[in-house]
């Protein structure tokens, strides 16, 4: 019998796939510019110039982010807009944009991702005053290693910025992209950051996109990656006495999800945000991407809405559908925890998004040939 229809708020979803309509958190990563004052070797940029949106266009897109959070019923504090680039501080209207965002500080958290070079004492003070922004500064190791990857002087520049941010009590964290070049320095860097008063180090997996392809020889083997996860746990226990330091997991760390981990560890592990339907990226030109590191174009925010793309994009639903995972993943006993690893890493490595994660040690003992799955049809990007 027809009894009308029910608004989502009244349903309390128990349906499996309907979880995409009310996820526990949602992250929009918004790239404001592709311009950068550094030329880091691991960067996913490919050096092409991209037209930037005007301030007026940025302003017109912002309500879409809020509508998406509202429609998905994301609770205050669990809706996040990460601002990046390029180097976002290079935009002359950057603070004007941040001022716009501050109107929503009760419901949205925001992280600015920067190399730190343009941060001054005055800027750090302003960020503190605005009261909603935390800052993520990138470092790739200790001085010599960092500068070999990010350029001469980059380490001291970043540390200066970190000290200014700390002085002004801006919540600051550091992010590192893990390769063979800096694997041995994670321990030393973490201890150094703790001395500086930083309490969070995010270690992201290498994704061989753009200029970063040049570092492909530095990609960790699956066994090195596995070993790192276990060493990181031990280091975390050591440094996190009294809750003073933690390693934040990235959404590529789903491969570390094992049934054998204690539940407190499992609760921290994030699966691929594309598979989990908890992320969208607004690119510099307004394109809506699945993720900056898995850049499938789903629409453009000047003519499509983020909410409609999140709900309607067949590409997204294909990525979310675990039945589309590779048979090697589906037969693995850990699949229900890891969900097939990270789309960005698989796609950058194999140029195919429906194959296993090349750093999965349960499938590969060493990095497989990049053409291993050439006969396997990609679901979306062929």
């Amino acid at each position: 019998m027809y009894r009308g229809f029910t608004k989502q708020k009244d349903i309390g979803y128990s349906m499996k796939d309907a979880r995409f309509l009310c996820p526990p958190y949602f992250v929009i990563q918004w790239h404001l510019t592709e311009r950068c004052n550094w030329r880091c070797k691991h960067c996913y940029q490919n050096g092409r110039k991209v037209k930037e949106l005007s301030f007026r266009e940025l302003k017109s897109i912002l309500p879409q982010c809020l509508e998406l959070f509202e429609a998905l019923q994301i609770k205050p504090g669990f809706a996040r807009i990460n601002i990046g680039g390029g180097e976002p501080f290079l935009r002359n209207d950057f603070f004007k944009f941040l001022s716009l965002l501050t109107k929503y500080k009760r419901s949205v958290k925001s992280i600015i991702m920067t190399n730190g070079e343009l941060i001054t004492d005055a800027i750090a003070k302003d960020l503190k005053k605005m009261g909603m922004f935390s800052v993520q500064v990138s470092l790739e190791g200790l001085r010599q290693t960092n500068d070999a990857i990010r350029g001469n002087g980059a380490f001291d520049t970043a540390i200066r910025a970190i000290k200014l941010l700390r002085k002004n009590k801006v919540i600051t964290r550091v992010s590192l992209t893990l390769t063979k070049m800096n694997l041995s320095e994670v321990d030393g860097l973490a201890r150094y950051l703790k001395e500086l008063g930083i309490n969070s180090l995010g270690i992201r997996r290498y994704v061989g996109l753009g200029r970063g392809k040049l570092l492909k020889e530095s990609m960790l083997s699956p066994l090195e990656q596995e070993d790192f996860y276990f060493k990181k746990e031990n280091l975390k226990k050591e440094l996190n006495e009294k809750g003073k330091f933690f390693f934040s997991d990235g959404c590529e760390d789903g491969i570390s999800a094992l049934g054998g981990w204690p539940s407190e560890r499992m609760n921290c592990i994030k699966n691929c945000s594309v598979i989990n339907g908890r992320h969208l990226n607004i690119f510099t030109n307004g394109d809506i991407l699945t993720c900056r590191r898995f850049p499938v174009v789903l629409g453009n925010a000047l003519k499509d809405t983020l909410l409609d793309v999140h709900f309607s994009s067949n590409k997204l639903w294909t990525f979310r559908n675990l039945n589309n995972a590779h048979p090697l993943c589906k037969k693995c006993p850990e699949f229900r925890f890891c969900l097939g690893g990270a789309k960005c890493v698989s796609y950058a490595y194999f140029r195919n998004d429906s194959v296993p994660d090349p750093q999965c040690w349960r499938i590969f003992k060493k990095l497989p040939p990049v053409n291993l799955f050439d006969g396997h049809q990609a679901r979306q990007n062929s």
Partner: protein
């Protein structure tokens, strides 16, 4: 009204509605309200037949056959559903 509707076809109003099947149920996004709605099983059946370009008369027959119910009951439910959705401008007459 009913007599007129029976020979008509309806479809979803693409300007304000996107829809898809999630976990075997029809869910639509009301773009103006920025909300998701779920149709119950019968409404979902009617919706799917409607967007497959079946006339309302045909949908009634299909509903009656599928649920093995009296044609009058099927007609009452189908028209109630479609009129409700037409009034809300979620469906439009083709």
């Amino acid at each position: 009204m009913k007599v007129n509707l029976l020979d008509k076809c309806v479809l979803h109003n693409k300007d304000i509605v996107s829809w898809r099947i999630i976990d075997k149920q029809v869910i639509f996004l009301h773009k103006n309200e920025k909300s998701f709605y779920e149709l119950n099983e019968v409404a979902g059946f009617i919706w799917q037949k409607a967007v497959s370009k079946n006339s309302i008369k045909k949908i009634i027959a299909l509903l009656s056959q599928y649920y093995d119910i009296d044609r009058q009951v099927a007609e009452r439910d189908t028209l109630a559903c479609i009129e409700d959705l037409l009034n809300r401008k979620i469906l439009v007459i083709r």
